[in-house]
């Protein structure tokens, strides 16, 4: 008892100490981002979570990230600005996604939600089993939930039918869903049979300072087409294999620069071999993110041949570097850039060739806008600050909503997800609730220590660096790598 009172007094004192910034700019949230995909894994979802978290911290919210352990990287780590990352030791099953049993992750997730005083759980990516688990447990614990979908799915084959059903179950009582483009929103609403009113569209962003044009890197005696994507079927590499010989025959000064790695590399190598284009088609292999700009600025035209895409970051990066963009008209791509900055084609070799030739003719006649002017227009289109502002509005809205109590949740599951799947998952939800009660009896909430707040307005990292605790906190973090095994 005495302890609880003391804890309350401690909280009160810390609030008075740093309560002013929070009061000025409205209500602040404790946000927990959950996804299987985070650094050291590389990709779009990972950088999205990282950049969004950094901007939300800047706005004064408290943000933590939960992901699964990557090799020896497990336990608790801190990133820039005191962004805390929990690498939980859960078993990875397939493609960096954890196995799901609906229950085994509850004790650890509950512990994190309680000790960090989480108010909003934000899960990312429909491929991530951990994200769905966290949504499920958060709803059981009565926390508000937000989900961001980063990809498009089909409806026809067996695997998509199954994943769509799971998504329906997972999202039917989630408070709010965020999609990256209007096409992606349509897709998600149809797949998960959602009410479109609870789905928001917040596009991705690029860091415009990373992608600045540099025309001096271009070689003016030739025209270079840059392609940067993973070399996989989804990215339309077979189309690229058809385009290269056709255009290279017509235009002797045309060069291709292709960055990326993947199973379809063999297609491009065959084309290069067959038409003797070794000096004109360069395959750079896998590129690190920091090298992408160096490749982009060497080109005049950026080509994207994707067959499906929710929101194409690559074309924004290309345009930001001042390149003419030619792309296929699929998925969310037509919404991404204004019409005069992009040439859209059908996903066929003939249409793409026609589009590219039109751009080449314009490039030769010099009637294209200068790289600097393109950059100036793209620079303010997609920024992370804007994304964070819009996400903040979603949190505001969600925080005002109530979380369905168990009985209404069960009714909703049965009404929304069909009689069989609905009943099964209603049963699972009841079991999850009972398991939660058991855990609350075994380890009561008040026994768990509240985590020292490292981020946000009251964070230790934002205070003056001469305080001793902070230095020790920092050294504790450095020492945290080997500690888990020793305990």
């Amino acid at each position: 008892m005495g302890q609880r009172r003391r804890g309350a007094a401690l909280n009160a004192s810390s609030q008075t100490k740093c309560g002013t910034p929070a009061e000025v700019s409205g209500r602040k949230h404790n946000i927990c981002m959950v996804s299987d995909f985070f650094y050291p894994n590389m990709g779009g979802v990972e950088s999205h979570i990282y950049q969004l978290s950094q901007c939300l911290i800047e706005k004064g919210h408290k943000v933590i990230i939960i992901t699964h352990a990557y090799g020896r990287r497990k336990g608790i780590r801190y990133l820039t600005n005191g962004l805390k990352v929990y690498y939980l030791p859960l078993q990875v099953m397939y493609n960096q996604s954890t196995a799901t049993t609906c229950f085994h992750s509850l004790p650890l997730l509950r512990c994190v939600f309680i000790r960090e005083r989480i108010t909003v759980v934000h899960a990312h990516s429909s491929f991530s089993a951990m994200a769905h688990d966290a949504l499920f447990h958060a709803k059981t614990m009565g926390l508000n939930t937000v989900f961001t979908d980063h990809s498009l799915f089909g409806f026809a084959d067996v695997s998509s039918v199954l994943t769509n059903k799971l998504l329906t179950v997972s999202l039917c009582d989630t408070n709010h869903i965020v999609c990256v483009s209007y096409t992606s929103k349509e897709n998600t609403v149809l797949r998960a049979t959602l009410n479109p009113e609870i789905v928001s569209v917040i596009p991705n962003a690029v860091d415009p300072t990373d992608f600045t044009p540099d025309p001096s890197q271009r070689q003016d005696d030739r025209i270079t087409i840059v392609v940067i994507s993973r070399l996989v079927y989804r990215k339309g590499i077979d189309l690229l294999g058809g385009i290269i010989p056709e255009l290279c025959l017509k235009h002797p000064d045309l060069h291709f620069l292709i960055g990326g790695e993947g199973p379809k590399r063999i297609v491009l190598e065959e084309v290069r071999e067959k038409y003797q284009l070794h000096d004109r088609v360069r395959l750079l292999g896998a590129l690190e993110h920091k090298d992408v700009r160096g490749v982009l600025v060497q080109g005049h035209i950026f080509l994207n041949t994707s067959l499906t895409e929710a929101f194409c970051m690559a074309i924004v990066e290309g345009a930001s570097c001042g390149l003419q963009v030619v792309s296929t008209r699929v998925g969310g791509i037509p919404e991404v850039l204004p019409e005069d900055l992009i040439t859209l084609c059908e996903p066929t070799v003939r249409s793409l060739c026609a589009g590219l030739e039109a751009v080449i003719v314009r490039q030769r006649s010099g009637s294209v806008p200068s790289p600097a002017s393109i950059h100036a227009r793209v620079r303010n289109l997609y920024t992370w600050r804007n994304v964070a502002e819009r996400t903040e509005k979603v949190y505001e809205r969600v925080a005002g909503e109530e979380v369905l109590p168990l009985d209404r949740r069960l009714r909703r599951l049965r009404a929304h997800c069909g009689p069989v799947a609905g009943s099964i998952f209603a049963f699972v939800a009841v079991l999850d609730f009972l398991f939660l009660l058991l855990l609350q009896w075994l380890v009561p909430d008040q026994v768990m220590d509240v985590a020292v707040d490292a981020t946000g307005p009251c964070g230790l990292w934002t205070q003056t660096p001469n305080s001793k605790e902070e230095i020790h906190a920092a050294s504790a973090m450095r020492g945290s790598s080997g500690t888990q095994s020793s305990l």
Binding site: G2, Y86, L108, V447, H472, S475, T483, Q484
Partner: protein, 180 residues
């Protein structure tokens, strides 16, 4: 000072005793409650009940005698190797840190870490079983690299006090460490 009620991470009461031997020598003792009679009775009863039910079906008296041996040996091993009554941390400025465990049977183990090997004492977080806990640990210097940490020695491993207790120990340890 030691009247404050501390608990361990499972909510059981523990007590912290701070002794100032001099301005640069301080001893912290964390004591957990003794083995309770009820708990011993409970375990013994459950082992014997299982043994009797097995005996009821097999009619083999060896089961009963082995149950007695198992309870006795188990209890002895428990108090000799598992159950720690007191854990103490003796910090002597400029000399080092001594960590000693005294088990319920009276056995004591002591380890000493020289000050030249110690980099710092910090509070760290770790995932322990199905919980995430704070613990106090000593960082050891890496001999090849003056900034590096070669290994970590966790303190109060068996009693596992909660954060408020750890913060108190940490602060007074830092007072002594900062003097030397």
């Amino acid at each position: 000072m030691e009247d404050e009620a501390f608990t361990d991470i499972n909510g059981k009461a523990i007590s912290l005793d701070c002794q100032d031997h001099s301005s640069f020598c301080r001893e912290f003792t964390v004591s957990s409650p003794k083995v309770s009679i009820g708990k011993v009775m409970g375990y013994t009863c459950s082992v014997w009940l299982i043994a009797y039910s097995v005996f009821f079906f097999t009619q083999n008296t060896a089961v009963l005698s082995s149950a007695i041996v198992v309870t006795l040996v188990g209890m002895m091993l428990h108090i000799h190797f598992v159950k720690v009554d007191h854990e103490s941390l003796l910090v002597i400025g400029s000399l080092g840190i001594q960590v000693s465990y005294s088990y319920a049977s009276g056995r004591e183990t002591t380890t000493f870490i020289e000050m030249s090997k110690i980099k710092d004492i910090v509070i760290n977080e770790a995932i322990y079983m199905h919980q995430i806990i704070y613990y106090l640990c000593v960082l050891l210097k890496d001999p090849s690299n003056s900034d590096g940490v070669s290994s970590v020695v966790p303190l109060f491993q068996s009693s596992k006090p909660r954060l408020n207790c750890l913060v108190k120990v940490y602060k007074s340890c830092q007072e002594i460490l900062s003097k030397c």
